[in-house]
Structures are given as C-alpha cells and as structure tokens.
C-alpha cells in the first residue's frame, strides 16, 4: 500500500537540528563576539558565554564614528532605485517578448540573452572610464551606482517565462475590451505576478545591498558619508588591530535589512521560483 517506507521522524529531526546548528554556528559566534569590547574579544580562551556588555557601545561607535546612519540611508536609496528600475524594465521587456510580434524579435532576444555571459564585474575597467566621462563619479554617485545595472537578462527572462505560462486568451479578451497593452500589464499581468515580482525584487535587493566592488571603485574612499554599507563593514575591520567586536556588530547591523526582508517575503520567494523553474 505504502511503497515508500516512512523513515523514523526522530532521525530526521536530529539530523536537521545538527545541520541547522552547524549552519547557524558562525552567526551565533558573530552575535557573541559583537557583545565584547576590544579587550574581551582578544581573550584566550575566548569568552563564549555569557554575552559581554559592550554591544550597545559597539553599535554606538558604528553610528557615531563610522556614520552607519548615513551609509544605511545611501544604500537604501541605491538599492531601491536598482530594484524599481530593474523590475520596471524587466516587466516591459517580458511584455514585449511575449505579447508582441515584431521584426527582428529573435535577434533582439539573442542580444539580451548574450548579456548573461557578460557580468558587470568583468567590464568594470571601461565602465569606470565611461562613468567618469559622464561626470557621475564626482557629482552623481547615485547614478553611477544604479544606472549601469538597470537592465538584466535574468529579469527579462524571468518575466518572459512567467508570462508565457499565462493563458493567451486573457490578452485576446483584453484587446476585445479595447484595453491598451499597458492597461493589460497593470490590470491583468502584474496582479497575476506578485510572487514572481517579489522573488525577483528580493534577489535584486539583496544583490544591490551587498554590492561592494563597484562601490569601492566609484566612491571617494576618504569621504565616509557617501559610502555604501558594505564599505562601512570593511572599514570597521580595518586599522592596525582589528576590533572584532566592532566588526561583528557592523556585520550584524549591515545584514539586518536584507535578513528582515527575506523573512517577510520568504513565502512569496519560494513560490515565485517554484513556478518559474517548473519546466
């Protein structure tokens, strides 16, 4: 009757608990170290329990000396701009690829497809020159940090794939009702795509929140207040003697926004990808 023998549940729980513990161990250790001041952080043997009392002081240092308030604000603006821009462009591209017939569509599709092989990391050298030529490094750091990354093949494909799975009759019906393509997008497609939009937005938000390399090149290193948060984490760990308490506190503060967003959107995230990768 039941061909798949049920494994004893206890064993699964035990195995999962052990794996979870190992995965969480680095994070737990970071939490513990974040509560230590610089003297306690260098104690041998390490103080693994109880937590120290320097967490507040460490966090205060981050916000007062390293201007984490400004860095969080900067990174939020940049990440939001990237997420919004990417989502809008990807939605429009998906709409064009699925619901329009035009000459050269397949060639244009390849034009977009090919960029999957061209990650920005590789072309940063000439990209830096271009952005400098436009004067963005000096006067418009927000443009320099966002504008080159608005279009991605990944997003266009995600929505193309998702829209292809939506019944075509809906578009016919919309046309008979005299709805414009944009009205169709807002009234029909977007409401049917919230999970995919959320999944895509979450991934892009995490990626732009965590961006490091480009920000390090584009932003002037001597000006604390224009940096992004990951540079702040790096700065918290620099100096002749790494203050590990401060560094761990920086890592935790810098990770809270993407973590919270991930926890909030976890359900949409999982189902968004379950649909799109279901061949």
């Amino acid at each position: 009757m039941n061909a798949l023998r049920k494994r004893p549940r206890f064993g699964v729980h035990l195995a999962l608990s052990i794996v979870c513990f190992i995965m969480c161990l680095p994070a737990l250790y970071a939490l513990q170290v974040a509560t230590l001041d610089i003297v306690a952080a260098f104690q041998a043997p390490p103080q693994l329990f109880p937590p120290g009392n320097a967490l507040g002081a460490n966090v205060a240092t981050l916000f007062e000396r390293l201007r984490f308030d400004r860095l969080i604000l900067n990174t939020t603006v940049v990440s939001l701009a990237i997420v919004i821009g990417k989502t809008v462009l990807a939605l429009l591209a998906g709409l064009a690829f699925v619901y329009f017939r035009f000459r050269g569509k397949v060639v244009l599709f390849f034009f977009v497809l090919l960029t999957l092989l061209m990650p920005t990391e590789i072309i940063i050298l000439p990209l830096f020159n271009l952005v400098a030529e436009l004067g963005w490094t000096q006067t418009n750091p927000n443009l320099a940090l966002t504008f080159p990354f608005l279009a991605t093949a990944t997003g266009a494909f995600l929505f193309r794939q998702h829209f292809s799975n939506i019944p075509r009759e809906l578009a016919d019906a919309a046309q008979i009702d005299g709805a414009s393509p944009l009205r169709f997008l807002f009234a029909v497609l977007i409401p049917m795509s919230w999970n995919v939009i959320a999944a895509h937005a979450l991934i892009q938000f995490i990626a732009s929140w965590n961006q490091y390399i480009w920000a390090r090149l584009v932003l002037p290193p001597d000006r604390f207040e224009v940096q992004l948060i990951q540079i702040g984490v790096r700065n918290a760990g620099s100096g002749p003697q790494t203050d590990f308490g401060l560094l761990m506190a920086a890592g935790i503060v810098a990770s809270l926004p993407p973590l919270i967003l991930f926890l909030l959107l976890q359900k949409q995230f999982m189902s968004g990808f379950a649909i799109t990768h279901d061949k």
């Binding site: 429009l92 329009f100 397949v106 092989l117 590789i122 004067g135 560094l247 279901d278």
Partner: protein, 469 residues
Amino acid sequence: MADERLQKLSVRAITAFVIVFSVWFVIAERDGLLRLLTWLLAGLADAPRALEALISYYATLPSEPLLLSAGVGGLAGGIVSHLIWRRAVRTGKRVPQRALGLALGIGVGMAGAQIAATATQHCTYRPEASAAETLLGVVLTALTAIAVLLPLWTLLLGRRRFEQAESGYFRSRGLGYILLLPTLLSLLIFLYYPSAQMFNMSLMARRFPIRTERFVCLGNYISLLNDVVYQNSLLTTFLITIFVVLGSMVTALGIAVLASQKVRGAALYRTLLIFPFALSPVVSAAVFQAMFREGGSGLINYLLDLTLGVQPGWLRDAMLARLVVVFAAIWNILGFNIIFYVAGLQNVPRDLQEAAAIDGANRVQRFFRIVLPMLAPYTFFLLVTNVTYAFYGIYGAIDMLTQGGPPIGAAGALGGATEMLIYKLYQDGFRPGAPIGSAAAQAVFLFTIVAGLTVLQFRTIERNITYGG
C-alpha cells in the same frame, strides 16, 4: 475579506511609493541624466565618421591579411556548420540543404571573423607578427566566427519552437520596440559598448594615469600567458572554484533532501538553513575571519586546541588560507542552492518514485536513477550561478579575509595564495602605474573562461537533461 482589502491597500501603497520615489530620483539626478543624453547624441553624430574610417581602413588594407583572416573564419564556420548540420539530421530536425548550410556557414564565418580582425587591425595576419601572436590570432578569429554562427544556427533550427503562440498578440508593432527600448539601450551603453572598449584597451600598452597609449597587438595576452604569477592565479582560481562549487552543491543537495522531508517545523528548519544567502560576501568573510583568527581567541583554534591540541595559523599558510576562503564562500552561497534544490525536489513526481519502489529499487537507486536526473535543470542553473559566484562574487570575501595573501614563492615572487583572477584584475587595473592594457587582457581572458565554461556546461548537461513534471 479583510485580508484581501489589506492586500489591495498595500499594493496601492507600494505603487504610490514607487512613483514618488522614481520621480524624486529623476529630479534629483536630472543634471547627470542630461549629460548622458548629450553624450549619447554626440556619439550618434559621430557614427558617420566612424563608418568612413572603417571604409578607408579596408580600402588601404593589403589583401594578404584580409584573405588569411577570411580564410580562417570561413574554415571554422564551415567545420562548425558541418558538425551542427550532421547532429541536426541525426536528431530529425528540419534542416536546410547540405550545400546551402555549408555555404552559409563559410560565408558567415568569413564575415564574422572580420569583427575580431578589424578590432585587432589584422595585426596577427601581418608578416611582422610573432608565431605566438599568429596562433593566438587564429584562435581568436575562429572563436569570433563561431560566436557569430552559433546563435544563427540555433535560430535556423529552433525557429518554430520560439514562435509558438498563434494568438494573444497585441496588434501594434511599434510598441513592442518601444517597450524593449530601455532594456536595449541600457545593455548597449553599459554592457556592449564597455565590452568593445575593453577589447580595444587590451591591445594597448598604457600605464594608469598617463593618457598616451601605444598599439601592441596581442602583446599583452602573450606576456600574460608567459607570466608565472598569472599562471598561478589561474591555477588558484580553478582550485578554489572547484572546491566551492562541488562543496556547496553536493552539501546543498544533501541538506535539501533532508529539508524537504515533511516533518513538523520544516519551515523553521528551512529558514535557519538558508538565511546566510542574504548576507554579503564581505560580512560572511568577516565572520570567518573572526572564527579562524589566531592567538587563542578564535573559535576554531580554541575548539581544535581542546580536542586535538593543535592551533594552525589559518591565514598564514597557503593551503589553509584557501580553505578558509572556500569555507566562507560555501557558507555564503549554500542557502541559495538549498532553496532551488528544495523547490526542485518538490517537483519530482511522487508516483514515479513509488512505482520504482514497487519494482524493487532501493532508496539509493531511486535517488540516483530518478531524483537526480529530474533535478538536472536545477543542477545546470546552480552550476552556472555557483561558477559565476566563485569567479566574480568572491572578490569581497578575499578582500576582507586575505587581500590575496599569503605570499607564495620567495618574497611573493609567485603571487598570493588566494589571488584569484578577479582579485588580481582589480589589483592590476586600479593603482597608480597600473598596466591597464594587461588588466584589460586579463578581463578578456576571464570572460572567455567563464563564457566557455557556461557554454560547455550547457552543452554537456543539455544532453542528459530531463524536462519532466
């Protein structure tokens, strides 16, 4: 009901916020955007001049390099077309006539070869080019010819699959272009144009702040291939990539099998397993730096001292430092892999497994014969993302943990033990006196390696892929 109203309200709020934010952003950055527009218009106005220059270049080009480069491209195009044609016939696809296909391949190959040849000013086909340059030039020409041909053939053979739907299209044709325009423009300006620039830069000898440059043909590439430090960096990259990719994917699959069991609290377990993927490479490297530090206060050395009585100097030993980088990278990317494998495992039909179980297949056989092939699309996708992460994304982790060190060889004559290609590229490209041409050549190499790996993975896995479900 209340739930639905709340959802509608939050959607409205999000939409309003998006509009307000976008308007504010554009207004705040209007001067920069205007400069982009003027730059674009100036570039457009310059286009006729570039075309003229191209025409006069070909008018003065001696016939020998032109014929040689066209010959190499035609040969490569012909061979590739022949191979593709034969395979297409075997798999029963509708194909054009053999002679027509070959002629097309040769012609397009000859024309495609000119892209690389023009960019290098046909320098590898001139008599004064060295043997190594000629050889590299032939490879480059053939690769360009193939790169132009492959999409063409995919198009020819897969056309009917692409345009499936008969109905459900909007009548307007122009609007399709307009909707695509932002994406295309952005890709053109910020990806294709810099890529071409990068190739041009790689043919020049130039030092960082100095503006003057000199055309050196493929000299930068040749000296890179002969550079011991670069060879070591290449080796290090492959070593770390293999460990990161294999380690994270195998571990993720194992954990995903566990995590997809239907037990109480599965959601909590999953959250605890995948959260590190939301952290940045910099943060995860910082945590591992703290864990693996020396002096008795690091967690790992404390535990090792308690149990085994050893305290290795993790970041001072070449192999151990690489291992720490690998650990930090795996911890960072594991959650992402688990997400996709869990999603994939849920799509494996249960009846298929039950049928196999009735036929007497044991758990292990079922896993390798049924589950693993069904996961192939996910494995392919993850392989590409993991390789990309290990090649590029890892920069932040290295910069935080080791800065490319520890040095290997006498006084670091052989480079650093964790100086991966991407880290070396930035070290060489952005410092005073940096050899920009060499850094650009490194970037072209790096791109070729990753693109080649991706295509290779795609071709090998495509054959074994199962699109079930």
